[in-house]
């Protein structure tokens, strides 16, 4: 009797531990495009830190601003020095929820449309953001892709060329493949 109880409780304990699962990656990708004129203003960051919890839909993305690589080193320096002020604001992050996580079956292959809501903090300024994305499950591997744009001025980023050479809205593409 006792043994049964013990096993039952152990089982319960282990079950409760496994009820939630964290999906995480340290090398997700974010690409942004702020081309406003002829000159291509595109940067890529391949060290995106992202995690989400399957039960609650809680999700975060974090990047170091200096991790954005440009084709042109000079442009990268100007991006860090003059626009993002990355010594003062070294990070950008998104903290939010996958609103419809209940509609996603992480054990079944498929592409699920997800709705994300949360706070995007760039240049030390937080803004509420709502966007859509795709959560892909394929042979047990989980990936999230999404695309949205931000108004650069909403984040207190100032500069001579915003609205000219630099588009006033930057397109941001996210692509994260999670380890389970």
């Amino acid at each position: 009797m006792n043994k049964i109880l013990l096993f039952a409780s152990l089982f319960l304990v282990s079950f409760s531990v496994n009820a939630q699962k964290i999906y995480a990656t340290k090398n997700g990708q974010i690409v942004f495009n702020a081309t406003g004129g002829i000159e291509k203003i595109v940067a890529v960051n391949n060290q995106v830190d992202s995690k989400f919890v399957d039960a609650t839909g809680q999700i975060i993305f974090g990047v170091l601003i200096k991790g954005f690589k440009f084709e042109n080193q000079l442009m990268e320096d100007h991006f860090n020095e003059n626009y993002m002020e990355s010594t003062q604001f070294p990070k950008a992050d998104f903290k939010g929820y996958i609103k419809n996580i209940k509609e996603v079956d992480l054990t079944k292959d498929g592409n699920y449309n997800i709705n994300l809501e949360g706070t995007l903090t760039i240049h030390g300024t937080g803004q509420k953001v709502a966007t859509t994305g795709v959560l892909q499950v394929q042979q047990g591997k989980t990936a999230i892709t999404g695309e949205f744009s931000v108004k650069i001025k909403d984040y207190g980023i100032k500069g001579l060329y915003i609205g000219e050479k630099i588009a006033s809205e930057a397109k941001i593409k996210v692509n994260c493949k999670y380890q389970n």
Binding site: M1, L5, L6, L12, S16, Q58, E71, L74, K91
Partner: protein, 303 residues
Amino acid sequence: MQKRVAILLCLFVFISTAFLQAQTNQNFDLFAESNANLSPDITTATFKTTRIVNGQSIENVGAGVLDFRILHRFGPLSQGGYNFFGLDQATMRIGLDYGINSRLMIGIGRSTFEKQYDAFVKYRIIRQQSGERNIPFSMSYAGTAIYKSLKDATTNYTPYASDKFSFAHQVLLASKISDYLSVQVTPTLLHYNIVDNATIPNDFYSLGTGLRLRLSKRVNLITEYYHRFNKLTGYDDPLTMGLDIETGGHVFQLNVTNSTGMTERTFINETTGSWSKGDLRFGFTISRVFIVSRPKEFRNNNY
């Protein structure tokens, strides 16, 4: 007895489950986590460009980037109105610098002054950074070879080709103290393959200093001064002041200097002008960069 044990066990299980769950829930609050993604934060843009004015700065051009630069100096102000305060005259250096990787760069140049060719390598040894490791300064090595192709006065011996060479070895030590202030010191050894007579040494030691002061996001005030420990007589220490102005794709620099040459030998050791006598020259530098080889992030993808 058995009952009591069972109850105790139940209680224990209940508590431990609750505890574990509480703990896991706590662990699962992603927002509370400080996402410790602290890869080393390497300091960039200590100086705005690869030269302070004439001398090498701690900066390199990016990997795969070709930097075409024109350095231009007018004549001395002290020449007065007849020579339009020096603007009638000009001396220049055109050069090409290339970043082999993020640490190593090479460059070649040609100066009109003394018809010199020069070539250099610059290697980043230590990079200022914070995060995993805290290093408060950067260190690089710069080595320059200078070939003076100006025809010398006739001599009673046949000079070797190597006689026209001189060399500079420099250790660059720099620190970006804040976005507003950077400093650099540059211990320098200059070597002449040949000097005028046996009493003059072949090696000269000097210490360069550089300073960057931010005036606005796009304009920085810079100064450069070299103190010579042993001197060729008849020459002055070089002192230069300038403004670095960033305009999108290139850096434009305006400066006032007392040196004519723009290679290490000529500006450190053979500066003829004197600030006190008003032998100052206006000058400017234009730099334009071209991407020769795209960084690996962009090589296979077109975003």
